[in-house]
Amino acid sequence: MKQFIISLCLVLSTTSAALAGTARTEILADNLNFPWSVAELPEGGFLVTERSGQLVFVSATGDKHFIEFDLPDLYATAQAGLFEVLLAPDFITSRELVLSYSCGTESANNTCVVRAKLSLQPPYSLLDTQNIFTALPKKEGAAHYGARMTWLADGTLLIALGDGFVYREQAQKIDNHLGKIVRITRDGEAPEDNPFTHSKAPEIFSYGHRNVQGLIYDAARDAIWQHEHGPKGGDELNKIVKGGNYGWPIATFGIDYTGAKVSPFRDLPGVKPPLYQWTPSLAPAGLALYEGDLLVTHLAGKRLQRLCLVDEQWQLEGEYLQDLNARLRAVYVAPSGRILVLTDSAEGQLLQVSFED
């Protein structure tokens, strides 16, 4: 039975907060199992990943069907599973996309990325799937994978990674991929102009990250924007530069969930401070560019925030969708200009959002 309708739901986010804004939402699809990312197809419709391990095609009329693909090492439990689907810049001609997911077993897993081709027309399937990146070392536990991705202007791919939670000190060591952002070519090679090509992990682009959940390339400013989860407090918005150290866990605004200090320092020499930080944590998960502003969705914070750049400082311009009372997993601005938001639940929704102002 078709579980959703293309119905217009006006949600007036008119809370008493001074920054509360008004947005209109339209449900494009529902009953998605913990949707994690969405990509709009040029021929119409959307690809949606579900963390539990399904790749779903949502047609322009809201019909859904699962796309066949072959990821035999997919590990899906807790925070682990299928993460981001990102179309190649030349998707229209190449039909290529990349998928990030957690690969391995309970005792040995990490973030992997495959490149594949989407068949030409529905019912879609993924063809020629090939691994282009495996984060090393494989580690225990099912937490903090990062897994957001973005293409840079030169055609290389940035992949955000997590620290695996219990391996936080590894984020400061450049001989592994834990707590890093890596940059690779479409074939999975480390570009020669990466900053640590002499190390055992030449793919590293920046380090000192905890769990990156938002990553986007801003072509107009030639800048890379990123956000990551702090522990209890200390969620950060950063501008990523090649070779930069972003501090985790030696400098942070957050403290451990137990109340203990992770580090006595909020900043240290050689560490790039956040441009904006959320304390208490809102758990940002999703980052998009909209008319030069940043859109950030939040899980714990259950809202969409719009940040604008004023005098080189990101400032909160407005807050939206709080009336949904839903954990928001991701936000995208599709090539068509549509703002797409995913809610995070076993009955997740794909929403189209438009600002009233």
């Binding site: 225990e140 937490a143 939670f165 219990v166 137990t258 109340g259 203990a260 200090k261 006595p264």
Partner: protein
């Protein structure tokens, strides 16, 4: 009964204080291993912060754990009264080790207390439960020679 309550309170507080200082040292040691310099005033400020913020959380874990552990130790010492002190010490230590494992299996993160990520840290943090067992039995059922030490001359 009052003596038992006071002894239990002292055991929880004593273990929470010692455990907090231990976990702080483990956390700071990880940072110094990354070449971060931490001077003594910063170290002391961190201990103070953790005593105020981590200490109560640790006490929350200790309280039900020691309650169960000490009841078991009391039952065992009923059958082997000469080993009473040992039962409370072992009971507190084993009980806290089990509590850490239960908490880690229930919490969303793999290891709730960072110091427990290493075997040495886990053993030392668990040992604070044994310390609590010693405090409790020492105050609740002091041995004759301990009692004699407390009598006025």
């Amino acid at each position: 009964m009052v003596r038992m309550f006071i002894a239990f309170l002292c055991a929880v507080i004593g273990a929470a204080l010692v455990g907090t200082v231990i976990q702080t040292q483990f956390n700071l040691a990880e940072l110094t291993a990354l070449s971060v310099d931490i001077d003594m005033s910063t170290r002391m400020a961190t201990i103070l912060h953790d005593l105020l913020h981590f200490g109560p959380v640790f006490a929350l874990i200790l309280t039900p754990t020691l309650l169960i552990a000490f009841i078991v130790a009391r039952v065992l010492s009923h059958f082997m009264p000469r080993l009473e002190r040992a039962w409370f010490v072992v009971g507190g230590g084993v009980g806290l080790a089990c509590a850490f494992m239960v908490v880690d299996s229930l919490a969303p993160m793999p290891t709730l207390i960072a110091a427990n990520r290493t075997l040495l840290g886990f053993l030392l943090m668990s040992a604070t439960g044994a310390f609590a067992g010693w405090i409790f039995d020492r105050l609740w059922h002091p041995q004759p020679q301990e009692l004699a030490e407390e009598l006025p001359q």
